[in-house]
Amino acid sequence: MMKTSAEVNLLLLLLVFTLHVKGMRYSPPGKPALTRCRSPEKETFTCWWESGSDGGLPTTHALFYRKENSEAVYECPDYRTAGENSCFFNKNNTSIWVSYNITVVASNALGSTFSDPVDIDVVYIVKPNHPEMVTVTVLEDKGWPFLRVSWEPPHKADTRSGWITLIYELRVKLEEENDWEMHLAGQQKMFNIFSLRSGGTYLVQVRCKPDHGFWSEWSSTSYIKVPDYIQREKPMWVLITCFCAFIFLILTWLLHMNGHSLKDFILPPVPGPKIRGFDKQLLKNGKSDEIFSSLVVSGFPPTTSPNCEDLLVEYLEVYVPEEQELMEESKDLHDICLKSEGCTSDSDSGRGSCDSHTLLMDKFREAKEEKRQRDQEKSRTGTEDQRQQKDWEEEGLTYAYEDMVSPNISSGRVETWPSLFSPLPQYSSSRHSQKSSLEKAKKHCFSDSLFPPGSTSFSLDQGGQTTMEAIRSSNREFSLRIKQPHLLHSHTQARCQLQAHSEVNISSIGCKQALGGLRSPAPHSAEYVEVQRVNEENTVLLQPVESGHGHIDGCSQLPLGKDYSRVQGVDRYNRLLLKGEVPQEGDCLYDYQDMTGDGTENCYTSSSVPSIQKPTACIHTVIMGHDEMVLAENGYIDTLTARTLPNY
């Protein structure tokens, strides 16, 4: 047992000793090593080292240095200033352009260990501090901002005396990016950065380096925010403006190219009046009275007169052979009397007959001149009445011709005129008969508009002044071209009778009848005579056509029986063939508004009258007779002679 405990004790001791030995291994310190030596301003420098293993024993370190060309070994003067494991050499101990051989020695109880020597030259170990007072400001260059970075050298570095020369470098980056943008600034202490991002935040750092040395550490980061100088909306508006301007230019060009057609499309040209013979200057003058008066054509439209009276002259000339001498006589008159103021109407007034009419008028004019000369020669021969008679004969003729509206008056008809007039004095039937005949005679009447109310009648026998006046006035009234302004009291009836060649005989009667004077102005009333039949003696039997008052609106009254108002033709025996037609209602197309109940009769035309100007076959003549009849060109019937013998 004792032996066992001793062995145990021995083992324990051995164990402890082993442990003790392990924990208590001492060795000389490990080899230290100089890590770096730096000089911040080329006036002082500091060396750092790191120690090796300490060997378990407290180890001390020492730095020794030796300058070149000298064997003296100096120890580090300052171990504390620079911190742990460092040696600081102050200005007094620092020499430039002198090589230092520095060695660090680590020593402990067991020994010391030297580090490898390091040769340094202060000039080449300069590493300044980072630049100080780095300021970044945003400046503007014509609206575009830029950064201005300024700094100061480290306060320890003596750049003023030129002892140390520093060059600087800065770096910039956006906050959200990772790459720095380097800028070498040289020896200047200020730098501009352009091309900034609008609204971005920039980071700026600066460092420096001596001409022969190490770069300093980067300065602390400076943050700067760039203001928004690019407006997002502006480029879009610029684009829109340019686009609109472009469109506008294109439209302007198109408008210029198609200006004419567009103008015609928007403002179509107003067609001018195309009325032949219408003076456009009247329109430009703007006087409505003149315009309307120029439009109004005498004889058109016939407002009141029955349809038969419209420009239609139907002549039934009854030729009386034994009265040729009268014809000749009247022919002279005729030639003379035809002269009057010419129809000054032009070709556009609808009075197409005026052309030929003017021819006749010219002839009459010549004749009249001759006649006047003759009269003058005759001087006072003849009674005044005769003269008057002749005068009015002349004038009547002239006026008759003037008033004659019927177109296509052939020159041949001129000759018939005297036949009309000449026998007139012979027929001096009673007034009453004339009246009746007048009533019954269908006359070629003109519209009331042309003939003011008045029912002067015309009488050749009496040759009254009144008739003359009537004629004259009627003439003047009728023809607008005649410039004789005094009012007319003409009677349309008288007028008509003048017109109708064949009716002269009849009308003379009627005129005498109505010669009683100028009746009070009454609306023109036409008296028509309806041909009833032709008896075996070649006599045309007339039937008065009673017209009512209510003729204004329409043909309310129709003649009874057949209407022989249409001339069909002339047979070979020189007989007037009349066509009998049943009058129809509504045929009265004429607007005879001025019809009054004077006992006048209106003329109904059975045929539809397309236009007022068209001469209708409103009955004209009443003449009976076996005289030869000449068919006018357009349906008129001209008789060479007319003999009025109204038979009822």
């Binding site: 060309n69 430039i96 352009w97 000039v123 030129g162 002892w163 020896q187």
Partner: protein, 204 residues
């Protein structure tokens, strides 16, 4: 040559109405020249070190302290305090001496890519510029370098003990010394220039 013409033209003007400006320009030119030479020396030695093998580099480190440069006889301020205590004229004269002592030995330097005589020419021009500067500062007093009779001594030391093993070492030492001296001249000239400049800010 251009610099010579320029310096001569400056000198012909003499101490004109604006001597400081001319001096400033001369200084600037001189400093830039020296800087160039210094950089050239740095490049030479770095090229030399890269061409050596690692074992030879270790040897060089040990050998470096044993010998000294040929310009060690020239006493020059070795710290800032001493430099600032020296006058401009002293600095210029020292610079002149330093440049002059390297004017001929630089021909033996292995130029690498640069021709051999380029460094020597630059040094000669630099020397003339410094002479101008000294003359401008002295205001008429002539300058006679003191070290002219001792110029041969470096050459003597230079070529002594030149062996096959030591050729490498000597080359390295030569390059190192050259580089150091150039840096000295640069520093002295810069300090002298900044001292003469009217503005406080010398760096610009």
């Amino acid at each position: 040559m251009e610099k010579v013409v320029l310096l001569l033209s400056m000198l012909s003007l003499g101490v004109s109405s604006q001597p400081i400006t001319d001096v400033q320009r001369l200084f600037s030119i001189a400093v830039s020249r020296v800087q160039h030479l210094h950089l050239l020396a740095q490049r030479l030695i770095s090229d030399f070190e890269s061409s050596l093998q690692t074992e030879e580099q270790r040897q060089l480190n040990k050998i470096f302290l044993q010998d000294s440069c040929n310009s060690d006889y020239i006493i020059s301020p070795i710290d800032k305090h001493e430099t600032q205590r020296s006058s401009v004229l002293k600095l210029l004269s020292i610079s002149y001496r330093l440049v002059e002592c390297w004017e001929f030995p630089s021909r033996s330097l292995s130029g690498g890519s640069a021709p051999r005589n380029q460094i020597s020419r630059s040094l000669t021009e630099l020397k003339r510029g410094i002479v101008l500067l000294i003359t401008a500062n002295q205001d008429g007093a002539e300058f006679f370098p003191e070290s002219s009779p001792l110029q041969l001594a470096p050459y003597g030391n230079f070529y002594q003990g030149l062996g096959a093993d030591e050729s490498l070492r000597r080359t390295y030492e030569l390059l190192a010394c050259f580089k150091k001296d150039m840096h000295k001249v640069e520093t002295y000239l810069t300090v002298a220039k900044c001292r003469l400049s009217p503005e406080a800010n010398c760096t610009l």
